[in-house]
Every structure is written in structure tokens, then in C-alpha cells.
Amino acid sequence: MSAHLSIEQVGFGYGARQVLRDVSVELAKGDILGLIGPNGAGKSTLVRIVLGLASPSSGRVLLDGKDMRGMTPKARARRIAYVPQSSPLSFPATVFETCLLGRTPHMGASPSRKDLAVVEDLLGRLRLEDFAFRPMSELSGGERQRVMLARALAQETDVLVLDEPTSALDIGNQLFTLRVVAEIARERGVTALVAIHDLSLAARFSDSLLLLDKGAVVGHGDWQETLTEARVRDVYGVDVEIGILRGVPVFAPHELT
């Protein structure tokens, strides 16, 4: 079985300042990979490389076995969509207008009826229909995050890359956002790469985890094998107790080591 998305020996940085070193991982179609690690571990850089926003200094990223550097920007935009951590609010744009931008790689100078219909459906699915014509600036952080997710889903790609999608959200919105991602991954066979800080959420919603530390892979696999109490102590410098409450993995930080 060949991988859908594979990151092959990716390195980034120059000389002594290596941000990423020899990172390799393969994702099967419909898989959710949780990308975890302390601040500065290289998660964001890896996200940018997969999106084509940064070029690796070594290694490559393959989609269906093809090197992504060979793709035109538009072709890539039809395959990979990006949910950023935040969005600029420089000029007033409505929720509908913002989501519609996700149709950009599929349209000419203006959106078609089909583009509008796709957005209308997604707004319903993400419970945003009541906000459709509100300006983004009037929305709460959770609503805004949902709009950015809707924009990425409107791109109708087979890969989704999310950079800290839950770090600014309350627990209700955290659950809702990740549940939508998990549903979409299952329904449409969308492969997702999620950079995320919250270990409980990462363990719960990912099919497998990739733990980065100082630019290198220090753990890879399902959550039980990746996040042992000993490894969390090594990588994060925190004494944790790992438990499972009604099927949900919980990481209780006790003391700094």
C-alpha cells in the first residue's frame, strides 16, 4: 500500500541552525496525524514545508508518490488546504465572503453558482449560517476559527493542514472543531496534518502522533507508545500522570522536573 502523503527525510536550516533534521513520516488516505512537541520544536516549519510556503533544504514531500515541488500553485491549492492559527482583520469582510475565498483555486475571475452552493452547505455544517453576513471582526474566536475551517473545506482538497487550530478556543469549540475535522477525514477520505499543543486532544483525535523535539523526530506511532510518562518528562521537562477517564486520555502535569 502506498502512502497518500509522505514526508521524506526533510531538513530545514543552515549550518548549526538546523530547525528540522531528517523528518520522515507517511500518512495513509484519511489518516489524521497529530504533530506535537514543545515550542520551537519545528512544528510550524514542517507545516509550512508541507504547504509549500517554505522549501526544505533537504528531503521532499510527496503526494500520491509525486514530488509536490513539480506542481503549479493552483494545482497544489486544489490538493492541500490550510487552516491558520489566526487571520488578519484589516478591512471588514463578511463570513460568507471569507469562506468563498476557499473556492479561489476552482474558479475564474468570479465565483459560480456551484461555488456559492458549496459555501452555503459548509456554513450550515459548521453552524455559521446565522453569521453569514456578519463582518469577521464581530465574531468570537471560536466562530472565526470555524470560518477558517470552512474556507479550507470549501477548497475541497484531499489534504488538510491545520496549525494550532484549537489553541485560542474554549473547550466546547475545541471539541467541535476537531470533531468536524475527524468527520470530514472519515467521510471524504481527507488526510489531515494537525499541529497541536494539547496532548489530550492530540491523543484523542489523531490516528497517530509525531513527536518533534529540537527539530528531530523523537516519537511516532499511536498515542500510547508515543506519549509515555518518561518521554513527556524528557521532551517537555514536566512530570505528568497519564490516565484514561471514560475512554478519554488525560495528561495531568504535576511538577517541572
Binding site: F91, T98, A109, S110
Partner: protein, 368 residues
């Protein structure tokens, strides 16, 4: 407040599907653009005949028709009157519209690529560079007048272009980031303003008067040659920018990274916008002198009325800028007639109250 009410559609359409409502708002915005363009032309005609005795719109139309039909249709107008209209009044009126439209157009593009509502041809240094170029030409131009009448505008244009190249290449070195462009532009604006002031120190009384007059910005003595050059620049730039309108939407409301992940070549888009906005505004400023305010508020007035979608904003802000400058110049001509107050001064008197009114009365979320 939402886009539907922005374009004048009454509220209470919650039952409509959002796709249908979006299309409806689009049709309203289109109607607003067409109607305001028509209103602008009527206004221009009315303003052209104001202040010329016994001349009405009918006379103006007859004279224009006579000219366009190469005398085939006779206007039977007083030849003196016809000359005043054709060679003094009409070029001035048309230039007011072209200049206002160009500066607002340039402002929309510059604000879009920098995502900064404070940017305009003035704040990015282009106007100050042109003013310095004009001062140098006025001071040291004697003996170099090979280019004749066009020596001052040509020098002003070259300096404006040089300033833009500086801003552009600095930003290029730093990856075409929005912040670099704004900061470099502001720094250069101060530099060129200081150099213009320095030049004024060594100017004679007569030169000083000309330099000061130029820095006020005025439409006195504008002929069809200036209208042709500036009008052509705008007519070429408008459709080129309009073709990228959707990409400007992405750049302003999604940011650089997301725009790139949507398949947009952001560096190329910025480059195109810089070239179009700088050429168009520099051409206008070289003929009229520094007219500062329109490039800043034209885009805001447009956005407050029609929303941020650049497919509508680019043409509509240009119409707003044209109307604003036309009104300002007419007021400047009439207020203390026969003394003409330079349009660069009047536009602030007209624009600031209008602007403040819009900020206070319209969308509270606009300047969040």
C-alpha cells in the same frame, strides 16, 4: 450591519439562503456602481457650464457634438463661449475626474497589498518625491528646457518613479512584506519633504511661489494633453487591476500565507499592484501637483458604501474619488471667484467633514 444593507438592501432577508442573498447583494452593488457613474457624468456636465454666462447643458452638448462630428452638426454657439468651454473648462472638468479617480484607484491597490488603511500615494512617498522633482526642475530648470513645457511634470514623474523603485526593491529584498513597504515609504516621504524644504531655502521669491503653488496641487491651466496622458494611464490600469480583483480580496482578508495556499502568486500580485498604482498616481501628480487626501479617503468612502469586495470596490472607489475632486475643484473655483483656490486645499475642506460623517454614522465595526 451586513453587506446587504451596505448596498442599500433592506434587512429582514434571514429566510433567504445565504448563496441567494450573496448574489442579490452583488446585483445591488452593480446597480449602485452604474447609477453613480451616470450621476458622475451628469454632475460633470452641470459643473462644466456653471459660471459661464448664458450657457446651459444643451449648449455644452451641442458644442461637444459639433466637435465630435467635425463640424458636420452645427451648434450655433458663440465661438468665444465654445472656446472657453472646449479648451478651458472641459479639460479641467475631465482632469478633475481622471485625477480623483486615479488617486483613489491607486489608494485602493496600495491599501490592499499592504493591508494597511493608512496607506495612499501620499504616505508611500510618491507624492513627496514628485514634489521634490518638480522643485528641482523649477529651481534649476532654466537652460535645460529641451523638454519645453513638459520639463516640470517629466522631472516630477521620474522622481516619483525613482521613489517607487526604491520602496519596491527594499520590499523585494525583504520578501515583499507589507510592513517593509509601508515603513520604507514613510521614511522616504520624510526624506523628500526635507529635501523640498531645503530647496525652498535657496529659492528666489518667484521660484518659491511656483514651488509652493505646485505643492498645493491645482488644476489651473490643465490642457487636453495632460488629460490624454493621465486618462490613458488610468484606462489601461483599471482593467488590469480589475482582472485580479478576486486575488486582492484574498490578500486583504486572508493574509499572505493563506493566499499562497489558495494558489495565488503573492509576490507577483504585489509587484503588479505597485507598478499600476505608482504609474497612475505619479502621472496625475506630475501634472496637477500634490493632491493628498483623495488617495487616502477615496478607498474608505468606497468601502463604507459598497463593502470590501475589490470587484466592486476598484471601480466604485474610483468613481468616488472622481466625484470628490470634481466637487472640490468646482467649490474652489466658485467660492471666492474670480480667485481660484487650489483643489489640493479645497479637497481637504470637503473631504474631512464627509469622511468624519461617514465614520460616525456608518458601520461601527469598520475601524475595529
Amino acid at each position: 450591519m451586513d453587506i446587504a444593507t451596505t448596498a442599500g438592501l433592506p434587512n429582514g432577508h434571514a429566510a433567504l439562503g445565504s448563496a441567494r442573498r450573496y448574489r442579490q447583494a452583488g446585483r445591488w452593488r452593480l446597480a449602485v456602481i452604474v447609477l453613480s457613474a451616470l450621476a458622475l457624468f451628469v454632475l460633470a456636465g452641470a459643473v462644466a457650464v456653471v459660471g459661464i454666462s448664458e450657457t446651459g447643458l444643451a449648449t455644452l452638448l451641442a458644442i461637444v457634438v459639433e466637435k465630435l462630428s467635425f463640424g458636420y452638426v452645427k451648434a450655433n454657439a458663440d465661438p468665444q463661449q465654445a472656446r472657453v468651454l472646449l479648451y478651458l473648462r472641459l479639460p479641467r472638468v475631465v482632469m478633475a475626474m481622471v485625477a480623483g479617480g486615479s488617486l483613489a484607484f491607486a489608494g485602493v491597490l496600495m491599501q490592499a497589498i499592504t493591508r494597511n488603511p493608512l496607506v495612499s500615494p501620499y504616505t508611500i512617498g510618491v507624492s513627496s518625491a514628485a514634489a521634490f522633482g518638480a522643485s528641482v526642475a523649477i529651481m534649476f530648470g532654466v537652460g535645460f528646457s529641451a523638454a519645453g513645457l513638459y520639463f516640470v511634470p517629466l522631472t516630477a514623474f521620474l522622481f516619483a518613479l525613482g521613489c517607487a523603485v526604491l520602496v519596491f526593491s527594499m520590499a523585494w529584498l525583504r520578501g515583499m512584506g507589507a510592513q517593509t513597504m509601508v515603513l520604507t515609504g514613510i521614511a522616504l516621504m520624510y526624506l523628500f519633504s526635507a529635501m523640498t524644504a531645503a530647496v525652498q531655502f535657496v529659492a528666489t521669491q518667484e521660484q518659491l511661489a511656483r514651488v509652493v503653488h505646485w505643492t498645493f496641487g491645482s488644476l489651473n491651466g490643465i490642457g487636453w494633453d495632460a488629460v490624454a496622458v493621465a486618462g490613458l494611464a488610468l484606462l489601461i490600469a483599471l482593467p488590469l487591476a480589475q482582472a485580479k480583483a478576486w486575488q486582492f480580496n484574498a490578500l486583504t482578508s486572508a493574509g499572505d500565507d493563506v493566499s499562497r495556499s489558495l494558489g495565488i502568486n503573492v509576490a507577483m500580485l504585489r509587484g503588479l499592484a505597485v507598478v499600476l498604482s505608482v504609474v497612475v498616481s505619479a502621472v496625475v501628480i506630475s501634472f496637477t501637483g500634490v493632491i493628498g487626501f483623495v488617495g487616502l479617503i477615496g478607498p474608505h468612502v468606497g468601502r463604507l458604501i459598497i463593502g470590501s469586495d475589490h470587484r466592486y470596490l476598484i471601480p466604485f472607489a474610483s468613481i468616488c474619488g472622481a466625484a470628490l475632486l470634481l466637487l472640490a475643484d468646482t467649490l474652489g473655483r466658485m467660492a471666492f471667484s474670480p480667485t481660484v483656490i487650489p483643489v489640493g486645499i479645497v479637497v481637504a475642506f470637503v473631504g474631512v467633514p464627509l469622511f468624519l460623517h461617514l465614520i460616525l454614522s456608518r458601520r461601527s465595526e469598520y475601524f475595529s
